[in-house]
């Protein structure tokens, strides 16, 4: 078994004449929190979709949890969780019904599933919100519910596409506390975000621009290397540099 959770090599995706992802190579170690940063439209979501087996790459290689992203998508899917940037649970079902549905799709035995839902609802402090229709929940609770749904089957790797978009700072902080606990228990986290304070929580980050990765490394080391005081500045500097080129 490979110790890297995600390895991609020259992964490329063309949409017609538009190159959304351009020879991206990356390595994400097992158990680390990897921040996948980039401006809007940089190709982050496209990359994640290829890793999750939702989108067929045009070229390049990739392995997720040790499995090939072309051939072994079904094996990959059993080992990953995915939380998209758009809330994608059923708004007319309650939180519990949503979790029960996804758990059954993962073929969890009813007894085990019941236990797991109780466990997650305590961990994520879902409380009584779990009994309400998902559509009626405030954004922060929706995000937690979505996280719970993606964690039901105890995935090795969790892909989070802007999990805290539109959520207040207190909620964001608590959400990240949960993510930290997950990482501590050995789950690999692959997170995209726009919030630079969140990027600091990551062990390593990459910055993507126009389909290419323009920087990758530990946040502190990157700051030193580029002589910047904050990630915010670093991000803006790198992107403007690219635009000038």
């Amino acid at each position: 078994m490979n110790s890297d959770a995600v390895v991609i090599d020259k992964l490329t995706k063309w949409f017609g004449k538009f190159r959304a992802v351009d020879e991206v190579s990356l390595r994400v170690e097992t158990g680390e929190i990897f921040g996948f940063l980039g401006a809007n439209g940089a190709g982050k979501t496209t990359t994640i979709r290829m890793l999750c087996g939702l989108l067929l790459p045009t070229s390049g290689e990739g392995r997720v949890a040790g499995y090939d992203i072309y051939r072994d998508t079904e094996k990959i899917k059993r080992r990953i969780g995915y939380m998209s940037q758009k809330f994608s649970l059923y708004t007319d079902l309650t939180g519990y019904e949503n979790l029960w549905f996804y758990g059954s799709v993962y073929q969890m035995a009813p007894r085990e599933l019941k236990k797991r839902i109780a466990e997650l609802s305590e961990d994520l402090e879902l409380g009584n919100f779990i009994k309400r229709p998902a559509g009626s929940l405030p954004t922060g609770w929706r995000q937690r519910l979505a996280l719970a749904a993606s964690l039901l089957h105890r995935p090795q790797i969790l892909f989070l596409d802007e999990p805290t978009g539109g959520v207040d700072p207190v909620f964001r902080r608590r959400f990240w506390e949960i993510l930290y606990r997950l990482a501590d228990s050995g789950t690999t986290l692959f997170v995209t975000t726009h919030y630079m304070d969140e990027a600091e929580f990551c062990r390593r980050i990459s910055i993507m621009h126009h389909g290419r990765i323009i920087a990758v490394g530990n946040p502190q080391e990157l700051l030193v290397e580029h002589r910047q005081a904050s990630l915010q500045e670093l991000f803006i500097q790198l992107i403007t540099q690219q635009e000038c080129v």
Binding site: L54, L56, T73, S88, D92, L93, E97, S104, V105, Q107
Partner: protein, 365 residues
């Protein structure tokens, strides 16, 4: 596999149950559609409004008018518009037919001379005009025969089989039931998949290890059941309310409806693979339904179509199901008479469903 399918089926039913509009559509639509169409689509021509200009005013002219009105086909009344302006009655839609009985009608008849009466028909609706003229010819022939106590060399002894009263509703209701099943399942199936794609839940579902058969079955089962419930409501309602005779085998009909479902579900899945939004899916489902209805022999008899269009109707899977359902309900026939249609249905079901199945991909290219 089984648990995945069950989870999906249960989820769909939760969602339908929580949508009051959907519930109403499901249970009221078949009945409303049947009532509206059953009464509205009536090819029987009755109560033809006949404006009469009787310039003879004799017993015989009145007798002629009486026999014209006797069958309930023509309703005669003296016209209040002068003869020369009589066309106004057609333009203002106050009459369908103008009958002009000339002076000397009875005198000439008694002298055994031939007489001509004027019979003008509104041809705006060509088919009812033709029916009206046919009736009028029959009635006047009968009138002649009785008048001279003739016995004609050839007479036809007519008998209408399977539908003695020639009620068009008997013919229409089985077809409406079939069309209902088609429209409901094509629409629900395509919309169900596209809706999930539109709101993003399909993507969430596709990152799970759910298999294609489980996903498609989990979608197909609830909507087939809903389709069959509607089909049954319409069928039972048709038999009870309209008194449609059901001559054949219910088992055979349901078996064939089940086979037919693979066609409509296949079309629904296919539509979901070529559309991105519910609006697009709705439009395609509507387009398919219009084509399917118009070339199925629903209200335009296939024999009346131009030859080239008749060939086209062979490509319409609904056509076969319509023949089958009418055959089973009205004639009470079974496999022995229907097998060519049944074979066609099976071919379409297998073909369309397989094609749609292969087109449906879990991963986007």
């Amino acid at each position: 596999m089984f648990r995945m399918v069950l989870a999906l089926v249960r989820k769909e039913f939760y969602q339908v149950r929580r949508d009051p509009v959907m519930l109403r559509i499901i249970f009221l639509m078949p009945i409303i559609q049947l009532l509206l169409l059953g009464y509205a689509i009536n090819t029987d021509v009755k109560n033809i409004r006949t404006a009469v200009y009787d310039y003879d005013r004799s017993d015989l002219s009145r007798e002629f008018m009486r026999s014209l009105g006797a069958g309930g086909y023509f309703v005669t009344r003296p016209s209040d518009i002068p003869l020369l302006a009589g066309e106004r009655g057609f333009r203002e839609n106050r009459q369908d037919v103008m009958l002009v009985i000339p002076p000397g009608f009875s005198r000439d008849l008694k002298e055994r001379q031939s007489v001509t009466a004027g019979f003008l028909v509104d041809g705006t609706n060509a088919s009812s005009a033709a029916v009206a003229m046919g009736y009028a010819n029959l009635i006047s022939a009968e009138f002649n025969r009785e008048l001279y106590r003739l016995s004609l060399p050839v007479t036809l002894r007519q008998k209408v089989l399977y539908n003695p009263e020639a009620e068009s509703v008997y013919f229409m209701v089985p077809a409406i039931v079939a069309i209902l099943l088609t429209m409901v399942t094509v629409m629900l199936m395509s919309m169900a998949i596209v809706r999930e794609r539109e709101i993003g839940t399909l993507e969430q579902l596709l990152v799970t290890p759910i298999t294609k058969p489980a996903l498609l079955l989990g979608k197909a089962i609830p909507f087939s059941l809903i389709g069959l419930v509607e089909f049954s409501i319409a069928l039972v309602f048709g038999v009870i309310w309209f008194g449609i005779p059901f001559a054949g085998s219910w088992t055979l009909l349901y078996l064939l409806a089940f086979i037919f479902l693979f066609t409509t579900l296949g079309v629904g899945i296919f539509i979901s693979t070529i559309t991105k939004t519910q609006q697009q899916a709705m439009f395609f489902a509507w387009f398919f339904s219009i084509f399917a209805i118009l070339t199925s022999g629903f209200f335009i008899p296939i024999q009346n179509m131009p030859q080239s269009i008749q060939y086209l109707t062979y490509l319409n899977p609904v056509r076969y199901f319509l023949t089958v359902i009418r055959g089973i309900m009205m004639k009470g026939v079974g496999l022995e008479a229907l097998y060519p249609n049944i074979i066609a249905m099976i071919v379409f079901s297998v073909g369309i469903f397989t094609f749609a199945w292969l087109r449906f991909a879990k991963r986007t290219k």
